[in-house]
Amino acid sequence: MLNRMEKAGQPAAAFRPAVDIQEMEREFLVEVDLPGVAPEDLDVRYEDGALYLYGKVPPREREGARELLREYEVGDYARAFRLGEQIDANALTAECKDGVATLHLPKLQALQPRKIEVKPA
């Protein structure tokens, strides 16, 4: 199978990485498997209620090597989620380590659970 990513250097479609999304009391935690993506090659944006992820992967073909088995293809990763307006975009943090991106998306203050003090009558 030809690697379609290599065709004439044109921007090709990217792969869809595996994602875990956990919701906690005050934030969403998003973890994304991005093997081969260096921290500086991860692009995360939150715009108009949508989360965009793009991970660039340098090609790692070797000259003169013969392929014996290919279970995965190498290429960039992309994924986008619509979240709505419940995220505090200014407080979003992302880090990338060992090929895994970890995103913290804090909920807007107004949506966070608040403890109600019950006063004695």
Partner: protein, 150 residues
């Protein structure tokens, strides 16, 4: 040439992002999507194998698995990778999507030729494990000089 606990991942398993429907629902279309991932039954982790005249190159995708969480062994021409990928569920968290594989894994690969077990090198970078296995002397191509007939 490949033995493992499950069938090889089909070449189509890694779906390309569908840019016609770029947005996915953050909260997941199916609450139990993890029970039926697209590549259910595929071997984990996925591997690519290449060779040149000198080496066999094996590459595993191991995102989020630190070097202390797996071991590599070579016996004869069999390479075995065994390890564990920890699940990181937070207390009180609700999973909206759970697509990443976790748990114990093991794969044994039959290499295409004898290798030199004393000079195997492995590096782990950005979640990709690259193993270079030099071919044994008697497995390398040798140029045969054709002598003139006497």
């Amino acid at each position: 040439m490949l033995t493992s606990y499950a069938l090889s991942r089909p070449a189509t398993a890694r779906f390309r992002s569908d840019f016609d429907r770029i947005f996915e629902d953050f909260f997941g279309p199916r609450p139990f999507a993890a029970l039926a991932p697209e590549w259910a039954g595929a071997a984990y982790p996925a591997v690519n194998i290449r060779e040149d005249a000198e080496n066999v190159q094996v590459e595993f995708e191991l995102p989020g698995v630190p070097s202390g969480a797996f071991e590599l062994t070579v016996v004869g021409n069999e390479l075995t990778l065994k390890g564990h990928r920890a699940a990181e569920a937070r207390e009180g968290a609700i999973y909206h999507r759970q697509e990443r594989e976790t748990g114990a894994f093991a794969r044994t690969l039959q290499l295409p030729c004898e290798i030199d077990p004393d000079h195997v090198q492995a590096t782990l970078k950005n979640g990709v494990l690259k193993i270079t296995l030099p071919k044994a002397r008697n497995a390398k191509p040798r140029k045969i000089t054709v002598q003139k007939a006497g």
